[in-house]
Symmetry: C2
Subunit: 282 residues, 2 copies
């Protein structure tokens, strides 16, 4: 099945889509991106993703070439053509093409997005756990910008995999911040705890949704730094991301963590998230 | 005049050169690069640049698709075709094209380089100074890798320009490390001082040459962290880079710095560097 991409206003097969080697996304990582999950052929929390795109773009002084409303309409048209049930949209915005120079050029940004099929999410009880490996955080200090300068994340993720884990969790001094491509949550007693958004933590959309949902399962949402030993000994521990929703953590640096299965409260949060997804993408 | 690029073994006009939007250089900043200066149509310190390319590539676990010797020969062929007198080669190596996923794919790296004309360097007495602006260092901690994840450098440089300077100099606590696209040197008494290479400092080729040359002008090369006040009050202060050679610093955060003109010792270093360039590119 052909995958389609919208690139600077044109819709073409993804396999044919290219950018100039002088696109600043290629030479300077001078751009931002979003990944949006599709359920039932519809994008979930698209408005929130497009709002974050605008914040990221503003954070690096790129002016998007169209409004969120226009972009939403163009994404809708691409989705009609793609006609996927389960999948994702990958969207990228760069500062555009110009002869290589650090100085911001006067040029038109490059904007593209494509839809790709993904397997449907498994039932909650069948969701696979993840094994985490700690990696000292060597990333830059504006991780709240969802930039394409992902090399440190890529290196951390692969270091984790080489060491028998699935995902890297960043540590800074004694604290754990987030993972290479997901946020981290701990349930300790009656609290649902995650690190505040900022220099080292991206404002994950699923992260935000779970903080909203917490109260519904009797948990108090708390945004504070979490120490490594708190995370390791939490009652329940999970990661969140757009494409994974929630994945419970089974191992921390090779050691099993509590409770050894998908925790009851985590599962309840997941069930409420699923209800919301079903409602909003019906 | 057509600019030529060698891209994955093919030589084509630069204006036609593209990469897949799923090249990891475009989606993950998953690559490294080099810039080599051409004098008299010949690349200066090409071996040193290619050695650094290999170190950078190893640092992020990319295996270059050819040896430095083969690469040197291909660069030579492109230069014959380009027939430039003054110019540069821009070279980039990425992990290649694969469906987007943080995990290292099994794929062939993307390798490209192109030659571009530059104006000849002015006589030493006519070299323009630079105004520096301090910027808190928010970059990652592997700056010794010459990676294309340059977004923080781009933002710092443009912040400097917006604030009336030409180049950003990074500060970390009380120390100054390097600039957004150059290394920083201070002459204090009989010492030529620059920050050691490491997490926050790239092993600049011109930097290395100057440390070698220092003794010839009676200066002791010293690699140690330099405080901001030492830099501001140094006898002479300059930056180095492949394309600028040496540029003396006239202002630091808007204030004039010593000696207010191109310093005598700095100029002597520059003259010896020019002799070396002339000899090696004759």
């Amino acid at each position: 099945m052909t995958e389609w991409i919208w690139i600077n206003g044109e819709v073409i097969p993804l396999s044919e889509a290219t950018v100039s080697i002088e696109d600043r996304g290629f030479q300077f990582a001078d751009g931002v991106y979003e990944v949006i999950r599709l359920y039932n052929g519809r994008p979930f929390t698209l408005d929130q993703h497009l709002a974050r795109l605008e914040r990221s773009a503003r954070g690096i002084e790129i002016v998007p070439p169209m409004s969120a409303t226009q972009l939403k309409s163009e994404i809708g048209k691409l989705l009609s053509r793609a006609s996927l049930h389960d999948g994702m949209i990958y969207l990228q915005l760069t500062r555009g093409v110009a002869p290589r120079n650090h100085i911001f050029p006067q040029t038109k940004p490059t904007l593209l997005f494509y839809a790709r099929e993904l397997p449907p999410m498994p039932e909650i009880d069948r969701c696979e756990p993840v094994k985490l490996r700690t990696v000292v955080d060597e990333r830059w200090k504006r991780c709240w910008v969802k930039s394409i300068a992902l090399l440190p994340n890529v290196l951390a993720k692969n270091y984790a995999i080489t060491n028998g884990a699935d995902e890297a969790v960043f540590t800074e001094y004694d604290c754990v911040t987030e993972c290479s491509a997901s946020n981290l949550f701990a349930i300790i007693g009656k609290e649902l705890i995650t690190h505040p958004v900022g220099p080292k933590v991206l404002p994950g959309i699923t992260r935000m949704l779970l903080l909203d949902i917490a109260a519904a399962v009797g948990l108090k949402p708390v945004e504070r730094p979490l120490t490594e030993s708190e995370a390791e000994t939490a009652d329940e521990l999970f990661i969140t991301s757009t494409t994974r929703e929630i994945a419970w953590v089974s191992h921390w640096n090779g050691k099993p963590v509590s409770p050894g299965h998908y925790g009851e409260k985590s599962k309840k949060l997941h069930a409420i998230l699923r209800d919301k997804i079903a409602r909003e993408t019906a």
